[in-house]
Symmetry: C2
Subunit: 219 residues, 2 copies
């Protein structure tokens, strides 16, 4: 098969990521988010938050990682980040098998380099992988922030569970500046929104949670 044929086959197969649903809803709560549009949001976050990445971070590699990172869900589906340990282990095996199958659709050299990027993201060993994974953790938190703890409330996720997951963001771009808070809030200009377990789904900033709804309405 010619390289271009393999590449087109891979790109058409990738279309299926648009049908994989995540637990998170959109900010307007109209429906659940899918993994393709989530991946786009991460790429946009990488661009917008680039200045908060550690010096020397290669933004192109971060962009490539976030665009590729969820493709394995075409076979393995999306697992809620707060799922039990045994389920997480099963998911990891399923994702590895999916990576074996999907990247092999590409010409060999490209298959290797994409697989290496995916492995790097999973292993979280490099500065680019840490930044990319922090963005992946941060995106649903931003959405939950404006949907009154949306997914956390719906699934009864506790404060401790969220805080464990937040630890990963602290490897990333906005250490200690943008994260959910546990317990009493200080210096807050407006009442925090609270999810079950006492998690306050807000952040140390002044952007109104209603901002997504201002501006010109779509024509």
């Amino acid at each position: 098969m010619e390289p271009l044929d393999s590449q087109v086959g891979f790109l058409l197969e990738a279309d299926r990521l648009k049908t994989v649903l995540r637990q998170t809803t959109l900010t307007d709560r109209s429906r659940r988010e899918n993994s393709a549009e989530h991946s786009w949001h991460l790429a946009l976050m990488a661009l917008v938050l680039a200045e908060h990445a550690p010096p020397g971070t290669d933004l192109g590699r971060v962009m490539a990682m976030v665009v590729l990172h969820d493709l394995v869900e075409i076979d393995a589906g999306d697992l809620f980040v707060y799922a039990a340990q045994a389920e997480q282990a099963r998911q990891e095996r399923a994702e590895r098998a999916a990576a074996d199958r999907l990247f092999a659709l590409l010409p060999p050299a490209q298959a290797s380099s994409f697989r290496a990027l995916w492995d790097e993201f999973e292993e979280r060993a490099t500065v680019e992988a840490k930044f990319a994974r922090a963005l992946d953790r941060l995106e649903p938190m931003l959405i939950n922030m404006v949907t009154e703890g949306g997914t956390w409330a719906a699934h009864g996720v506790t404060a401790d569970q969220v805080l464990t997951r937040v630890a990963l963001i602290e490897d990333g771009p906005v250490v200690g500046r943008l994260r959910p808070h546990h317990g009493r809030e200080r210096d807050r200009p407006r009442p925090p929104r609270t999810a079950p377990g006492g998690v306050t789904a807000t952040y140390h900033g002044s952007v109104s949670p209603g901002l997504t709804r201002t501006g010109t309405e779509r024509t």
Copy 2:
């Protein structure tokens, strides 16, 4: 407002792109595609088809352009690429106004640089913009290829209309190798799929249009 506050506000506003629907469906025809997941697909195409871009193309700039290019549809909506001239002109004005509003949500320096990238994409003057715009034109064509002329058939788009639009792809990565054909096919191993007006929604390769449906089914 602190830079991070503006950036988070912009990122939450951007979430609305997930609700803007395009004419194209997914390859499984289950629903219409939205502009956020379309943008992700373009970023993936940029990565996968990079070797077909002209030498010296800066892939990072291409990725940034395709991630940003449709944000204006949050205010302006998506216009079918085959819409009438007057509608296209109205759309252009609406998109420019949207760019004025949306990028201004960011810190000033970032607003300028993102707006410049968006303008560059629109003007199609640089090699990166040409590549990005070719991908933007190619993506719905790939999808139509496996949905038996989907959008073209539904809207009665003619061969000449498609060919006019294809001209733009020829500025891009895969000149003359991957495009719909008009009239008689040569050297085709299997019967072409035909949309109204005699457009043959296929390409000069050997990837089966059914490829997206092979492989392991999702668990």
